[in-house]
Symmetry: C3
Subunit: 270 residues, 3 copies
């Protein structure tokens, strides 16, 4: 099984690099440059466009639509809704990153509104964001989850089943479920938490894989394995230095090889 | 005295790393990513949130509120005012970075409005920004101070006394005053002026220290010493190369040690 | 001829470093930090200011005004128009980067509106953007030109003649024309396409040169030679790694020498 998944991820990464899907981001102003660069590194093409006057037109060329509420305003939610409706019509996958859900009611309500108004394909957040979205508690400090939850695996599976989408919680270990299947992704490195926006970057990678892999559960696992592996490789070269790690992360994403994936992929089906 | 201050700074840096205060930034779009990363490097947690619909709720969890007018709009001033009022109620320190005051009347008047409407704890700017805010002349080119002022120390002290806050002017040497005490911080390196947003980063560091040190004068000195030292260490490893320096600056902030501070702190009480 | 141009570029780069012109950017949120840093690296001063309440005042101090529609909104077009009118009155050169023209009608129409409403000095884009602006076809995927055009040189020359401005198309080889003269700039490296915003950075460099060189055709050639050479030098040190290249690009811009230009400048007059 693990071998099969690794081989699928290799194929999908090849697909991304060959097809260069356009990833339309409506995202926060903190990580726009970083997620655009991550998109280029993995072999896809980024476009950041958020004006309500153009998002419906822009998304038509996209392989995936990435919605990230990190620096949310009501205007951005309007643009996300407009772009999302077109994406839904055209079966373009939508990946939602509910940054900071639970920190303010604007964020919590906006994320809930997007989930209700649109058919979201994948939701990726930290444990607090997902737990709060799912209707359970959770502690969030700004946009950072603090304190763990024992039953996260159950929460993820149930939430994915209810919303009929893929849900991913990233953290020390990543959990992915589509409501039936559950995967644990062991790839990653603690250095990822020393750089801002690495969660958003993971979401971008899921978008890149979803643009070429119709099984969104496998796409999500693939994106998280690729990103986690790149983080591991970068950490080995960085000596605990966050600035050096940030640079190395782009390098390792751009040079991630089939061999890296086949030998390093750590996925467990629960 | 110098030894005492160095030891206090060591304690406060430990405090930041242990308590991980949330630094709520309402800041400019140029340096959002950079100041978020600096926040992580020093051991605190960043949140960038500027929608008027959420800033009052977000700031409640913050250890400090950082207001930076670098890419100002009237909407941002409204958000800053809303967040600032809540911060004042809850005794959360407010650090103001009046980027580009003097360059346009929008900036000058907005900074004056914020200073009048809110109880600001610390104002940090370059010599032109502070001198103009204090009602004296000053030459600014965009957001850069050009030409020095002989009597800056007196201006800083008087302005701090009048506004009952801490005022810091950063430059070749930093001046800090709360209207009674005056400190000269000798840490820093000319390489800091080769990277955009280093002034904003210094302001973020002041916010981190103010979140754990109630004496805002000492917090300001601490933030500037820590940032200046990190700049010195990064410069030694960068060979005059600004890209390399930028990366090294994050590294040196993250690894700044008690020993670095005790041996490198250059503060003189005037 | 080639020697003469190289010597002119050396003089203009010296001029930029000596005069430190202020480059007022009204630009996209993806590359704000990067273009500010590129501005500092080449020796000029950046200011990013987009509020309609202040752009007319800010631009008065500028040596060049750079308009970039990468994350366009109608509000930004209004600000660009206001700033542009003042720039025109004061003979401050305006450089337009029509990012993503052809991808949405908002972008195409806004770029056309700016070109009609203002006297633009230089337009720099990729082949699709320029070809579409000039009224010919072109394929664009997000903000990336896909597929080449055989007769680009003719399109550029004709478009420059009609609009009475300098037009530059950057790509594998750069084409520059003012409607009479045509230059081919061979400097550059494929690594430049691995980092987001390098087109925007090239536009910033043109702005820096235009601030000191009244012949906008020569200024455009100069900016593109300097940027291309910096890219070549950075690529030699980067081993195909995009994160490393990005850092090295700032380094090589900051340290670009007269000797680099005299020995490496590759300009051909067509």
């Amino acid at each position: 099984m693990k071998k099969d998944i690794a081989q699928l991820i290799v194929q999908d990464l090849d697909g991304v690099r060959r097809l260069k899907p356009l990833l339309h981001h409506i995202t926060n102003f903190v990580v726009m440059n970083e997620t655009a660069n991550v998109t280029l590194c993995i072999g896809a093409l980024p476009v950041m466009a958020h004006a309500k006057e153009e998002v419906e037109e822009m998304v038509r060329a996209a392989g995936a639509l990435i919605l990230n509420i990190g620096t949310l305003t009501p205007e951005l939610i309007e643009s996300m809704t407009l772009a999302g409706r077109v994406a839904n019509e055209l079966n373009i996958p939508i990946i939602l990153d509910p940054v900071g859900v639970g920190a303010t009611s604007l964020r919590t309500e906006s994320a809930r509104y997007l989930i209700k108004s649109l058919k979201i394909d994948v939701i990726r957040g930290n444990s607090a964001e997902i737990s709060i979205l799912a209707g359970y508690g959770g502690q969030i400090k700004g946009v950072e989850s603090v304190g763990g939850l024992d039953n996260m695996l159950e929460i993820v599976k149930e939430f994915a089943f209810k919303r009929d989408c893929v849900v991913a919680v990233t953290g020390k270990e990543d959990l992915v479920s589509d409501g039936r299947r559950v995967a644990l992704v062991g790839n990653g490195d603690p250095m990822l938490s020393t750089v801002t926006g690495t969660g958003c970057m993971a979401t971008t990678l899921i978008g890149a894989f979803a643009a070429v892999q119709k099984d969104r559960f496998l796409a999500t696992v693939g994106g998280l394995v690729a990103f986690g592996l790149a983080g591991e490789i970068a950490a080995r070269e960085s000596g605990g230095l966050p600035g050096t790690f940030h640079v190395a992360l782009y390098n390792s994403l751009a040079h991630l090889s089939s061999q890296d994936i086949l030998s390093g992929c750590r996925v467990q089906m629960a």
